[in-house]
Structures are given as structure tokens and as C-alpha cells.
Symmetry: none
DNA sequence: GATGAATGAGTGTTCATTCAT
DNA sequence: GATGAATGAACACTCATTCAT
């Protein structure tokens, strides 16, 4: 990890805990182990660090969304209930929420959304709009296997989406992201899946 | 509204939008229309404003929880499906979330919870623990009318709780709390209630 | 002299010697004997000090120009060659150029005029336009005594004006304004006056 | 123009507009199109750029003064009133004042003279002492043609000198050196020459 | 109740300069 | 010849706070 990456890493950890404004350039540099003047060789100003993080996050989720489409298009996944479930889990958990970078970005967005229009847009898209869209697609594929009728899909997805969203806020965007919290989240997800879709 | 109350009001609006640290004593005084030295007549220091807000919030929700118990204990509400539903609505909407003071406090807690233990505790209690507890009680009372079997209650409450929580984050703790967002929230609540509990 | 006036005084001395940009707020405060934060109680920012100086200078020369008009209108000064001469001297020396505040402001304007439109306008007005105008008026009054024909006035004033301007730049806006330089200026003025207008 | 010359050229333009201290090494390099570290290959430090400019200026005026002497010594120019006039014009206009390099150096000296002894010495010499000396010599040569008596020379030169000095400050060391200003200067010079010396 | 004046510590940022490559 | 990366010192300015009035 070069200096520029180190700065972004440290900054994200601090921003996502205390908020952008409350973190000083001094704080970041102290943790990275460089002088403040050095930071300004790598970034135009403090805002530029935030912008770079947002840019990185955007390309992260772009490649993620592309990846999700590819999985959907995978012929092997058809007629396979299990795979669909795994896709959904893995989509939510591994990529958006469990990935350290994305998880911290989501926290940062939660903090900043109240006074930063760009952050709010991204926050809504990332936590509400995109997940619902993806989940809807997954369930539609699943329905093609005859698992449930088309008529029920919207309701099923809405329930599923709200349950996952609640768990996300409760376990993954709250306190530190410990293994314990991840497990608790994982356990509740599977309880829900079993209750609703197995048997 | 006297000066002390004005300070708290202005501070809350600013804190809940930009976070405690990012708001300066200067900002608050400028908006209130007093000199900074005057603020220190009314509050020991900046932290004291935050503490006073938290104290006010705590007594707010205490009286609220007492109020909820009273309603539950109201003999007229028994055997009355409709009233139970209204209680639930009114609990969520009028008190916790629609009340301007509480809504702003919840936003502040969302922002501060990541680095302030006291705020996190309050945040979890107010948005996850307490609501679930209350909702569980309401559904238990409702079940006594024979509306649904005891076995289903936990699942029903969990689904209900997650749906309301998701809607809260999506509509009431996101952007400015406009009438439009309130209406959208209200509409989705009623759609859910109808789908699940009527007929 | 209160703190605000002290700041302006010290700032002017420094600005007029090293230029506005080259003088730091630290420099000024160090000389005044206050902390930098105190300066910002009295002035909005560094530029505000400069603006206040310019404002003070403008009202200075405004009252000066009014004063000059009054002298012109003084009935006792008519038909009195000597008085006219003294008026001219006193106008140039006592007010614009010898007055410590104005002299330093002129130096500051000399320095800043090359990159500051407002300063350039003031510089041209104060050193070229206004003096010529005043001198022309004085000579016109003088001509009414029959001292010289109307036809010659323009030439006489132009010569006089250029001589005084040169002496100003050579003696009063060059190096420190010492008594020695004042005397040298004074001497050359009188040599010129004698050569041109006596006998 | 090689890099070293480019740096000096850009630096002079900036120094003469905003003053030495107010111009940063960054500013210069940005305009030249090199990195700051590169500048230190060509110059020891920032001061070295200024010193090099001063050195260049000194050799400029040295060769200029030699050139003036040569013209004086030119046998063809004797007994030729017109040529004398042209000499004077060309001395003032073409060399010292109209030449872009010298003009900018004079501006820089005007700015720096108040706090830099070396600059002040050069400023006085270049704008007051040398011109007067040269003008005196020119008029002496001219007087040898019988154009005017020796007794008047000093007065004539003083008047001429002060007029030219005033015009220099008014037109050539004020604002940007545009063609318009050059023309205005030129016109006033010729008006003066005609008024004083023709017919 | 409120304010004018002050302050030490801290804010983000720019400065001229160095040095290995 | 030129640059990428770094730095200590300085920059203008804001911070929460104090205290006499």
C-alpha cells in the first residue's frame, strides 16, 4: 500500500467513525505517519480525499453490479434453488456489506447524508434502490423454476428486502463490524430464509 | 421560548444535520442571535448542550413509554381490532418519529452512534429494542382477541417490525422530514397493514 | 489609541514598507502585542484591515479637498500673492504628503497599484489628477490678481505640477520620510518658487 | 529561450506585478511549466532569481550608458539640433523605459525600494541620478551649438528632467504598459519639446 | 442576562527547499 | 535536465472558553 492508499485507508476509518468534518488532516497524517505537508502532495485538499473515496466506491459498486448481472446470466445457475439463495446472500453479505471498504463507506454515507446531497443520493441508491432491484431480479429468476407464482413475487421481495434492510442497519451499520455481529446477522438471515422458503 | 430553549432548539437542528463536532458554538449563537459569551451563561460548555438534549430526549421517551402502557391498559381498547392498529400507527408515527424533536434526536443519534457509546446505546434502544418490545406487546393483546394464534405471533411481529424499521430509515431518517416523505411513509404502512391483516 | 487603531497603525507601517501580501498577521500582532486570535475580534480578516485603511484614507482626503475649497473661498486671501503660495505649499506638504498617515498610504498605493485596480485608481487620483486640479484652481485665483495672463496659466501649472510631482517621488516617496528628506524637498520647492515667481 | 531564461522572464513579470515576496516558487513554476524541484537545478534559491534579474539589469544599463556616451561622441551629431532631441527621446523611451525588461525591472524596484537597500540605490540611480546626468550632458552638447546660454542650462535641465520624470511615473510606471499609454507619453513629450525648444 | 475583549490550541493549507532517482 | 516524494516552518483563520463589566 503506497502513501496515497494509506491516506485513503486511514481517512476512511476515521471519517466513517467520527464524520468528515470532525476528522482533522492532522489526525489522518498522525496515524499514517507523514507530515501534513506531505498529504498535500498526494491530495489537492481534504475534500479531495473524500471525493477520491467516493469515486473508488462508485467504481466498486459498478463492477459489483456488473458481476451480479453475469451471475444471473450464468446458465448453470438456472433451475437451481440453492444457487439463487447463495447468490442473494453473497451479494448482500460479501460485497456490499461485509467488504471492509464498502461497509465503512456506507457508515460514512449514513453520517454525511443529512447535509450532503451527493452522499444522500448514493446512500439511497446503495441501501434501498439497488438492493431492491437486484433482489427483485433474483426472485424473478427463481420464480422461473416454478418455486412460486408471479403474482406473489412483489410481496415476497418487499418482505425480503425490508427484513434484510433492517438486519443491515441493526447488525452491520451499528457499532464496530465484529465477527460476532457478522455471525448474528448471518444467523438471522438464515432463520428468515428457512422460515420463508424451505419446506 | 426563552434563550436557553432557543439555544437547544437551534443546536439540535444543526447537530442533527452536520453532527455535534462539525457545529461550532459560533454557528449556534449566530443563528440564535446572541454573543458566544452569552451562551456560557446558559450552558457550562458545548458538551452541556448535547447532554441537555439527551436528557430531554430521555424524559420524552420515558413519558412516551408510560403513555403506551396506559393505552394498553385502557379497558375500552380490548376486543377492538381497529384500535390496536391505530395504536401501532400512532405509536410509531406521532411519537417517536414524526415529533420534530424526537426525529431530529434520532438523526443525531444515527450520526453520533459510531463513536459515542452513550449515543449508540440510546440509538439501539430507541430504534430497535423498544419498538420491538412495544410491538410485541401490542400484538399479544391483539392475539387475545383470537385474531391469530400464539404460535405465529413472533414471526408476525418480526416481519412487522422489520418492515416498519425499513420504512423508518427510508422515509423518516433520510433527507429533510417533508410532508411528502411523511405521506409516502404513511401510505406504505397502510399498504402493509391491509395486505397482512385485513380480510 | 485602542487595540483596533493600534492594529491599523502597525499594519499600515508594515504594509507600506513590505507590501500587503508580504506582511503576515503574525507580524502585525507581534508588533501590536496581541495574539492572532484577538486580531480577528477586531477585523473580519486580513483584507478587512487593508479596506479599513483605504476607507480612512478616503475620508481623510475628502475632508482635505473640502478644506481646500474653503480656503479658496476665503475673502481675505484675495489679492494676496503670498497667501496663495502658502496655500499651495501647505496643501501639498502638510496634508497629502507630510502627514504620516497619508504618506504611508501613498507608499502602500505605489506598491499595490500594479496588481490592485482599486489601489491604482486611488493612486492616480491622489498623486496626479487631484493635485493638478487643485493647483490649477489656485493658479487661476492667483491670476485674478493680475500676476500673470490667462494664456500662460496652463503651461505654468503643468510645469509647476510636474516639478512638484518629481520632488514628491524623489524626496517623499523614497526611503524613510526623515526630517532631512523633508528639508531637502522643502528647499527645492522654494528654489523653484523663487526662480519662477518672485522678482 | 531556454528554461533558465523562461524562469527569469516569468519571475520578472510576476515580481513586477505583485512584488518579490508575494510571488511563490510554485506560481513561477506553474507558469513556466516545470516542477518546483526543477527550478532548483537552475537557481540556488528564490533569492537567486531576483539577484540574477538585478545583475542582468545592471549590465543592461551599463551597456546602455556606454551607448549613450558613444552617441554623444558621434561627430555627425554635432551642430544638429534635431539629432540631440532624438537622442534624448530615444534615450528615455527606447532604452530605460520602453524596453519591456527594463520597464518591468523599474516597476519591481518601485515596489521593493521601501524595504530593500540595494533596490532603493538602484531605483534612485536609474530614475533620478543617471537620467539627470545624461540629460545635463545632452543639453551641454546642445548648448555648444549656441542654442542657449550656459547660464540657463541648469534651470532648463531641471525643468526638463522633472517633466520627463513626472511623465514616466504617470504613463510608463502605472498600470500595464499598453500602446495607448506609450502614445500618450510620447505625445506629451513632444508637446513639451515643441513648447520649450522649437521656434 | 448579556457582552466586549481576550486567548491558547487547533483548523486546513502553502511555503521554500532537499534529495534520491 | 528533470521529477516524485518528502519536510519544517509559516500561513490566514476558527475553535471553545474565560472573565471583568
Amino acid at each position: 500500500m503506497n502513501t496515497r492508499e494509506k491516506i485513503m485507508d486511514v481517512a476512511l476509518h476515521m471519517f466513517s467513525e467520527r464524520g468528515y468534518e470532525a476528522v482533522s488532516v492532522r489526525d489522518i497524517c498522525g496515524e499514517v505517519g507523514i507530515k501534513e505537508s506531505t498529504l498535500y502532495y498526494h491530495f489537492k485538499n481534504k475534500k479531495d480525499i473524500l471525493d477520491s473515496l467516493v469515486e473508488k466506491f462508485k467504481s466498486h459498486i459498478d463492477s459489483l453490479l456488473r458481476h451480479v448481472d453475469e451471475i444471473d446470466a450464468d446458465p448453470d445457475s438456472k433451475n437451481d434453488e440453492d444457487k439463487s439463495l447463495k447468490m442473494m446472500d453473497s451479494y448482500m453479505m460479501d460485497s456490499y456489506l461485509f467488504d471492509p471498504f464498502c461497509n465503512l463507506m456506507l457508515r460514512l454515507m449514513m453520517i454525511e447524508q443529512f447535509h450532503n446531497e451527493e452522499m444522500r443520493t448514493l446512500y439511497e441508491k446503495t441501501l434501498f434502490t439497488d438492493p431492491y432491484e437486484i433482489q427483485l431480479n433474483v426472485f424473478k429468476k427463481w420464480a422461473e423454476t416454478g418455486a412460486f407464482s408471479d403474482m406473489d413475487i412483489e410481496m415476497i421481495v418487499k418482505d425480503y428486502h425490508s427484513y434484510m434492510t433492517m438486519l443491515t442497519f441493526k447488525y452491520l451499520l451499528n457499532g464496530e463490524l465484529t465477527e460476532k455481529r457478522k455471525k448474528a446477522y448471518y444467523k438471522e438471515v438464515h432463520e428468515y430464509m428457512t422460515r420463508r422458503f424451505s419446506a
